[in-house]
Subunit: 679 residues, 2 copies
Amino acid sequence: MSQPTTTQADRKQAKPEKNRPATLPVPGDSAVAGVLADVLDGPYAEAKNKLRPLLNDASFLPPVEGSLDELRAANLEKVKAVAASGEIQPSFSPLNGGEGKVTAGVTSLELIAQVNNSVCIKSGVQFGLWGGAIDALGTERHVKFAQGAMDLSMLGCFAMTEMGHGSNVQHVETTATFDPETQEFIINSPTPSSKKAYIGNAARDGRWAAVFAQLYTPDSEESRGVHCFIVRIREEDGTDAPGVTTSDHGHKGGLLGVDNGMIMFDHVRIPRENLLNRFADVTEDGTYVSPIENPNRRFFTMLGTLVRGRMGVGASAAGATRAGLALAVKYANVRRQFEAGDESKEARLIDYRQHRRRLLIPLAKSYALMTFQNAILQRFQNQIDAQFAGDWDPARPTKEQDRAGREMETLAAIFKATASTHANSTLQTCREACGGAGYMSENLLTTFRADVDIFTTFEGDDTILRQLAGKNLLTAYGWEAASWSPFDIAKHVASNVGDILARRSGIAAGIETISDRVTGTGSLFEADTQLRILQYREEQVLESLVRRVQSARKMDRAEAAKVIDRAQDHLLAMADAYGDRMLLQSMIEAEGQLEEGSTARAVFEQVRDLFALNAIVEHADWYQEHGALSAGRSKAAKAAVNDLVDSLGPWSETLVDAFKIPQVVLDRPMMTNGGTDLS
Amino acid sequence: MSQPTTTQADRKQAKPEKNRPATLPVPGDSAVAGVLADVLDGPYAEAKNKLRPLLNDASFLPPVEGSLDELRAANLEKVKAVAASGEIQPSFSPLNGGEGKVTAGVTSLELIAQVNNSVCIKSGVQFGLWGGAIDALGTERHVKFAQGAMDLSMLGCFAMTEMGHGSNVQHVETTATFDPETQEFIINSPTPSSKKAYIGNAARDGRWAAVFAQLYTPDSEESRGVHCFIVRIREEDGTDAPGVTTSDHGHKGGLLGVDNGMIMFDHVRIPRENLLNRFADVTEDGTYVSPIENPNRRFFTMLGTLVRGRMGVGASAAGATRAGLALAVKYANVRRQFEAGDESKEARLIDYRQHRRRLLIPLAKSYALMTFQNAILQRFQNQIDAQFAGDWDPARPTKEQDRAGREMETLAAIFKATASTHANSTLQTCREACGGAGYMSENLLTTFRADVDIFTTFEGDDTILRQLAGKNLLTAYGWEAASWSPFDIAKHVASNVGDILARRSGIAAGIETISDRVTGTGSLFEADTQLRILQYREEQVLESLVRRVQSARKMDRAEAAKVIDRAQDHLLAMADAYGDRMLLQSMIEAEGQLEEGSTARAVFEQVRDLFALNAIVEHADWYQEHGALSAGRSKAAKAAVNDLVDSLGPWSETLVDAFKIPQVVLDRPMMTNGGTDLS
């Protein structure tokens, strides 16, 4: 990445005072936006800057009027333009003609989401889910399918979710029964609840599907577990393939360009080779073979594909949020209402503290999420690289790799849940901050909000994901934790909190030494102090959670389930505390890239202060209950949040300029008609 | 209202233990739903039960597909059905052929919002705003317009908001200049920012508009202030009237059946009689006359019409929320996912504590809002009745009436802001709690959410309304507070907190004596304790706010503005604390209608406990900072919230059955397909 340069206003601002943010130069220096953008783009600046011009095109903006079929057809054309750009295909493995750069897929979706989320999600379904399943679970014999996904000659679905089983994937009911006579699998939907549901590309465009089903082989009565199969669902002319019944979910709360539908299979026969056989296969004589002995481990190894999807959803949610913030912050800098100090002129919205609070607090979190995304994406890429290099066999990982893989899953779950929840609340705030203008579709905010709504559900419900993360932490990354019943959790809870804490790692290599590097005076404006306060909550919540759950060890199933149910809010609090700490760590890491003493550094530090202090304030009740913050310090943190939004107010446009949102998104009617100071 | 009857399970449950909710009979007793419904419907049960059958009609459900013109045309037909029912017109004054029952308008909108918010809002525009403006501001000479609004022969707009002035009504730029030569007013839009914007009925159906404009008469250089005029905007064939230019806002984030548009006037001439002259008139020779001397008071007397609108918006938001809660709670009682204690069967969503927390905490607030609505609606009706009886002249109120009127404004502002914010967050939670099914338009939740989105903005932005309430409280109901600049606020802040507190009243007559009636042991489960805890916050926030603002008394304009801006979050906190206390008071009042010792009473008390304790928990940080709750008591309140959602879980369906949502709304596909236990 390019080195941040020193700007004009550098070295002018004062040192931070004990309980006040440093005084920033006013007005904001727009050159700083470029420096901040480099930090936010991180290692992906080059790739992003290549894609941005393509997206800065009014024809990419989401249409809102027209029939569903028109909206879907228009959306497909845009996905074709994405494919033609060639920027997303490097995410595929070299085997399939890609470059094994998983980052390319994620950052592409992130940028597309800043312009049009229907294009983003349909692209995600095609390249990330349908293509991604083949890429991650297939072998040489599936290259043609992967390439068909990459060049759009084969439009496909990711058919995992069923009507009766959304979150509980391990219990999907669709069956795949091997018939040695014909060397085929018979794909079948045995019950109404086994219908594949909410599947993207299934209502209209999909011709193929990666179908997750319980595998039955002649050598066993029991299911071999959930496996993935390539099934043709429609003929090229769009009629259902024999034995397949597709249907249309019709109108949804958003993402109108994406054709979600249902799929049922009535004993559909597919060749034996259509089993994606990287981690398990069925031989010609019907024998089941897999390099992974434990069925649970096999299931979760295959489900590893979801990590990629969750990174994509999180990045897209975060991208759309930044676009919304840019719109609302820019509007707040032009729109005037009510006189303030000067009787002759109404004040700009940004001149009101409550308005600054509403926009700048989430903006700080968007900065934190961006640095977190960069950090975990890099770590994920390292993991993939190690696999391609042969140093990491996903079927037989070392103990350390196993733990790291599970930690990656936790990080992705936290990222996805945090980013998608943040997206919904922030985009809603942005809409409200733009008043009536915000409700007009031409100003994009309501479409963005409606589109990201479902991000909190797909690729894993946010509550379930936070629970998954909590379980992972609670069981010190026991790799099967995700599948555990409350009873299992109780049995396997880590016996030693110290053990879990010792294993708790940062994201990048250097991060662990932060406490050594930063020696704090205890001021709330010191990164070290902030980190220690967040870590304290993480550790205490964990300790209390372990204590609660351990009591269930000797109980029977029903009693243990009750205890775990009663600890559910603590499990979620655990995940949130961990997430807050990780986000802060990423911010501290990122700010190290900025020249000390530079204005950009000073501004970034205040954004970090705002994120950290707000995270503390949001749990001020807990800190006081646990004697970890005095009443005075709690009040000081609240006052500091107010001081910070005041200090950053004049910098608000610079902060969103650093997001580099395509200009075509920002050129909204409200900026000139409803926003211009016409008084 | 009908008297709650004693149900079978009555008198069976235990007394509340010290720190635990009383044990309720399990499973819930559905007969209790009827008893609770009577309390929730309150004095309006009869009127509501008359309207409910009309709305229980699938053709009333909101369509989501079709062109804007189709959606708008279909919506207009439904408004005609509402008009034909005759249930909403009694809200007009006897002069215009109504019954002066403002409650009829509010409760009608509330019920319609449970089925279709486009119908609700278009009805609100037609009867409540356009009709309501004529009814409240007009005189004998405007009866034909009021009746045209009532029978739909005159479709009209409420043209207050301008592009440049949404919240700042006092500074609208449209002018109405009297021309004595022709005995006409000339209505004109002098600037682009004076364009009337976001006006319902303006894009398509409106033929008339109640236009708010600065009045200029020959006897003065200066504006006489904002007055309201009846202006024809379109000919019967739909073409713009001479000098009028209407335009269409097009697609919005919701309420697609409502045709919002813009209106500009180019020296449009209207007869002198079209000034709504109840509070001010212009004589034939151009002399301005008004029974209200002070221009500010005149402005706010005319703006009193907004109180009615805010009650309607709040009631509609609350109604839509209850429909959403009924859907999500019922889904949670049928939908199963993941095994819990019993390995053979997946648990219902409601069996998970986090799910109970997500749904039952907002449900308790919905109960509180319903009792609050009934209380303030009754008070508002009393005020109107006194006016019709000649005991209360709105142009020359007594000092006591003046204060009561201002307090009514505060209550309506709090109600509208609380209900609309609650609607958005709760409907979003309901959508998420129904997972993918919640995102399908056929299940209604996303349409409801998108429709109520703008409720937080129209009829007064929620932040501005909370601020207005805060200002009213801060200045001990100085009646001009709403128009005050920060400088004025600083000058007029009450000098004596005790003075404000002494004036602080309850809603109904009896409410003040609650503290005497209920003698508490100090248990968190006692109404008295809860009320004292909420009152403490209200008083302390007020005291601290007064202290802060008083310092600005001797400052100049710019400095004072800064101090007020810095106190903005305290002003909002003041309004919220007041709102919490008032909601709790209403609940305590309402529960007095239930027979002591009955199951219905026990259930209702726990709903009240849940609302109150959650309101305390949400501010647990503040209470500890101010030494008002110990760490132990704060933790106990949190534990109590969990215990309460556990206790009320089996009663959740009964609680939403008491909302009496039309069955056609509840008959959603997810209840049978995605929801049925098919495992």
